[in-house]
């Protein structure tokens, strides 16, 4: 365990490096001492968390909106007025606790928050407890987990609260001992005065408590004094995970909340016309209740297995869904028809025109969607993994006919999210079922429900036109056309509340605003425009570890390779020449060197390299892909093989890397998601529903697909602010894989994933909606 210590306070240096938090000086921060039985400090967030960084826009391209002010800045700005209400508490047992208004779904947010508190308090990491806050309506839009924004928006306020807590403990000890504060030291949760006196934080927790809420100030540590922040740390919940003790939503026990599942329609968002045998099903073994709900028929019983038996036995007549006439080809045709026109006429220049299409993909995590609901006549209590719990609370209250204050929403640990838990449709359905049955329910969607009725990353088409002449790229136009993405989870409201402060002009839709706040090209390619158009189809859509970037960047980097080839330049040298930012040039150079760019490889094996910047971070990815027949044609039972990335490298500059080990994990996950998006995993829509129904049909990356060799290089910190990281790695890795594939095969891929044209499985029946579990498990034991 890292030791936490601080020397006696140096002379006051409040004025050191004013306005320059990147400098070596210590920054003075304010927080609230809250009226409480033991010490509690509420953090206050100023607008200073919003970066005013302006990009170095070298001449040919004007800065695009994302470069000046990105989606994360918007979220940080939206969070600013209310963050003062989040608090660090110090307890008599010497621990500090913090209920973070964010969701933990594997991204390591709770570990990073614990590190911030441990650092600023001089407390061992093991003595910091971080839990997930219930929905708190007073936090307004400061309770949204998404856009890779958590670290960016809470880094300063959490550290501020912790620093003030430490300062208050020191002041309390100084007062009790009658000595100057400047003579006290803190280390590992103990305050000492020379060799004479010492006291634990726990022993001072009550005395340090404030009787009324007042402001207080303290100094943040300088980055040069950090002993925890910026060092690799293991997850705080790792031991609970490996012993099976970590409780996910699916594992929670709430009294009388019995297993509940839903028979679902054979098309997306279909409805129930009639149920022929509800009474007979209610009398099946273990079954307690049957109720018709908005999009299906719910059954409640003693075990989920008996719920599966019961829902399969239901005889239901279905009404139409919302996209019954749509299939892959009809959607693709609509997208192509809706693409916005290019505007640069290729008169005296040469041009490249390219079009890339990306299939629907499922953002389903491994833990099936689930929620527990206990709805009574005058109140309701909900347990679910929710990234926007306030919106969930308000909407569920509306649906149940209850005041918002009568609905308690607990945010529970999620087994992954990838965008899925931005939506509360599962929690709302659980509430509807509980209300109709008059009993508590533990609702789980089946795996097949998740793929067929869950959230999808929308199908999209990206067209690019680039013109070039005399060794320069003169223009770069990208027209991205997407099936509509649902932003009904709260980000839309955030945009409304901050609209006047955003650097995007005019009357853009939410989707266009988000596109403009997230997309920019990192190259000086002359006249540059990137535009979005959406086709309003009623699929259940959402983001999937980013919204537009993996597709937009994949199309862009493939065209960049084409431009380099046309202009007879090496792809790395070409990128170097046209890059706008030094940070990108640095990760590119590091990747080319560490990944041995240009090394000799056999025919059919090739390298690809790509870059991306977003969330104030920068990444280069270099991969080697093996497209030789002996690799492509490997046989795996009920799996897809195909080309294999054999070596992969991610070089990341995350500004200030709070936890390099966690950042490395995010890059690893980004690479595996990218492999899935580029090569193997997609949904095939046929007559209004995805055909995929299990993990042997939706081909997310498996061990036989993953690179045997993956290396992540975390660049030395380039600033004192963390960038976003959760989604950062997907886009460059996706693009690098596509570029490598193009080089290895000599063919420009234009449809992703590359195996989408082949249906590599026999679809499960559409009815009943959930397949029966096998019975031959013992035969397959190994």
């Amino acid at each position: 365990m890292a030791e936490q210590s601080r020397s006696p306070r140096e002379p006051v240096e409040e004025a050191a490096q004013p306005g320059s938090p990147g400098g070596p000086g210590r920054r003075r921060v304010l927080a609230y001492l809250l009226a409480a039985p033991t010490l509690a400090v509420g953090a206050r967030l100023g607008l200073d968390a919003v970066g005013g960084e302006s990009a170095e826009a070298a001449v040919p391209s004007l800065p695009q909106p994302e470069e000046l002010f990105d989606l994360g800045d918007m979220q940080t700005l939206a969070a600013a007025p209310t963050s003062g209400l989040i608090s660090v508490q110090v307890h008599a047992d010497g621990t500090a606790s913090f209920a973070v208004p964010r969701a933990e779904v594997g991204q390591g947010m709770t570990t990073a928050v614990a590190m911030m508190i441990a650092e600023e308090m001089d407390l061992p990491l093991a003595k910091v407890r971080v839990s997930l806050a219930d929905a708190r309506p007073e936090l307004l839009m400061n309770q949204l987990t998404g856009g890779s924004n958590s670290m960016r928006s809470i880094y300063l306020p959490v550290r501020s609260a912790a620093a003030v807590a430490r300062q208050r403990l020191v002041a309390t000890a100084a007062q009790q001992w009658g000595v100057p504060e400047s003579e006290l030291t803190t280390r590992d949760g103990v305050i000492t005065h020379g060799a004479a006196k010492s006291a634990t934080y726990g022993s001072l927790a009550e005395a340090a408590a404030s009787a009324r809420t007042v402001t207080a100030s303290a100094h943040l540590k300088s980055a040069s004094d950090f002993t925890i922040l910026g060092t690799p740390q293991n997850r705080i919940d790792a031991r609970d995970i490996v012993t099976g003790r970590k409780k996910f939503g699916m594992d929670l026990h709430v009294s009388d909340a019995k297993p509940t599942m839903v028979r679902r329609p054979p098309t997306v968002n279909g409805t129930v016309v009639s149920v022929a045998n509800a009474d007979a099903v209610r009398n099946m073994p273990g079954i307690t209740d049957v109720a018709t709900v908005e999009h299906g028929v719910a059954v409640r019983g003693e075990t989920f297995g008996q719920c599966i038996d019961a829902l399969r036995a239901l005889e239901v007549t279905w009404g139409p869904g919302t996209v019954d006439k749509e299939s892959d080809d009809t959607v693709l045709a609509k997208l192509r028809a809706a693409a916005l026109p290019m505007v640069v006429p290729p008169l005296l220049t040469k041009k490249i025109d390219a079009e890339f299409s990306f299939a629907f993909a499922s953002n389903s995590p491994l833990e099936p969607d689930n929620a527990i609901a206990d709805v009574r006549s005058d109140r309701a209590e909900i347990w679910a993994s929710l990234k926007v719990p306030i919106v969930a609370q308000r909407d569920i209250a509306d649906r149940l006919g209850l005041p918002q204050t009568a609905v308690t929403v607990h945010v529970v640990e999620g087994g992954g999210s990838f965008g899925r838990h931005l939506f509360h449709d599962v929690a709302a359905e659980a509430a509807e079922i509980s209300q109709k049955m008059g009993k508590p329910v533990k609702l789980s969607w089946s795996r097949t429900d998740n793929f067929r009725q869950g959230r999808t990353h929308p199908m999209c088409v990206s067209r690019v036109r680039a013109t070039y002449a005399l060794g320069n790229v003169v223009s770069y136009e990208q027209r991205h056309t997407s099936s509509q993405t649902d932003f009904g989870h709260g980000l839309g409201e955030m945009i409304t509340s901050t609209a006047a402060k955003l650097p995007v002009a005019g009357n853009l839709t939410f989707a266009e605003t988000i596109f403009q706040l997230t997309q920019s090209t990192p190259y000086n390619f002359g006249v540059t425009t990137q535009l979005l158009n959406e086709v309003p189809l009623k699929f259940n859509t959402g983001s999937m570890r980013n919204i537009y970037s993996p597709n937009v960047a994949c199309a862009r980097e493939l065209v960049v390779d084409q431009l380099a080839a046309k202009m007879r330049k090496d792809p790395v040298a070409f990128r170097r020449e046209f890059l706008k930012e030094e940070r990108l040039r640095a990760v590119l150079d590091k990747a080319a060197e560490a990944g041995e760019w240009g090394r000799a490889l056999p025919a059919g094996v090739a390298q690809g390299i790509a870059l991306h910047t977003e969330y104030r971070g920068a990444v280069a990815s270099l991969v080697e892909i093996d497209c030789r027949p002996e690799t492509v044609n490997r046989k795996v039972r009920d799996g897809v093989t195909g080309p294999r990335v054999t070596r992969a490298l991610m070089v990341v500059d995350a500004g200030f890397a709070i936890n390099p080990r966690g950042l490395e994990a995010q890059m690893m996950g980004g690479m595996n998601d990218a492999l899935a998006m580029a090569l193997t995993s997609s949904l095939h829509i046929k007559d209004g529903i995805p055909l995929e129904g299990s993990w042997d049909e939706y081909f997310y990356t498996r061990q036989w697909n993953t690179p045997p060799h993956l290396r992540v290089i975390v660049m030395p910190s380039t600033g004192d602010k963390p960038s976003g990281a959760g989604e950062l790695g997907v886009a460059p890795a996706f693009a690098a894989i596509a570029c490598a594939y193009a080089r290895a095969t000599g063919t420009l891929p234009t449809s992703f994933p590359i195996n989408h044209a082949t249906l590599s499985f026999d679809p499960l029946p559409l009815e009943p909606s959930t397949p029966q579990s096998p019975t031959d498990g013992l035969d397959r034991a190994f």
Partner: protein, 158 residues
């Protein structure tokens, strides 16, 4: 209702359940043993992987009536006791390499890893890349690289 008895994590237990209820639901819904996770109920994702008489299997794909009184079922909760320690060497390796992200698949991954290493040891050889490529457990967070490293590290101490 039929009664079923078997050895679960070292203890002889008896539970009442219909014969065809899959063991996963008996463990999770009736006995409150939640280490084995529900990820698909189809014998595909492997999140529920546990051991029966030392071999890896998917409780989601076995009716409880097929479990005999002398069968020994071990879930992640009972793994450390099989080596008489607080943690099995494979769990230690998982901690050392900080494998988990969300953690939902990891109990199943660890149970699969232990069985894989045992089979290789029975063949008198070390775990190979080909062995690792055979592992079917889904990790939707994409922790595959660290899983591979942890299995090799854990195998050394088994």
């Amino acid at each position: 209702m039929p009664s079923h008895t078997f050895k679960l994590n070292g203890e002889q237990i008896t539970v009442e359940a219909e014969d065809d209820v899959r063991l996963l639901w008996v463990l999770r819904d009736l006995l409150g043993v939640t280490g084995p996770k529900y990820g698909c109920g189809l014998g595909v994702c492997q999140a529920c992987t546990s051991h029966i008489n030392g071999k890896a299997f998917n409780p989601c794909s076995v009716p409880v009536s097929k479990i005999a009184p002398d069968d020994e079922v071990t879930t992640i909760e009972g793994l450390p006791a099989t080596v008489g320690k607080d943690l099995h060497p494979m769990q230690e390796a998982w901690l050392d390499l900080d494998v988990a992200q969300c953690g939902y698949c990891q109990p199943g991954q660890i149970m699969t890893a232990v069985a894989k290493v045992r089979r290789a040891a029975e063949d008198g050889r070390d775990i190979t890349d080909a062995d690792l490529d055979e592992i079917r457990n889904i990790c939707r967070c994409g922790t595959y690289t660290r899983i591979r490293e942890a299995i090799r590290a854990g195998a050394k101490n088994m």
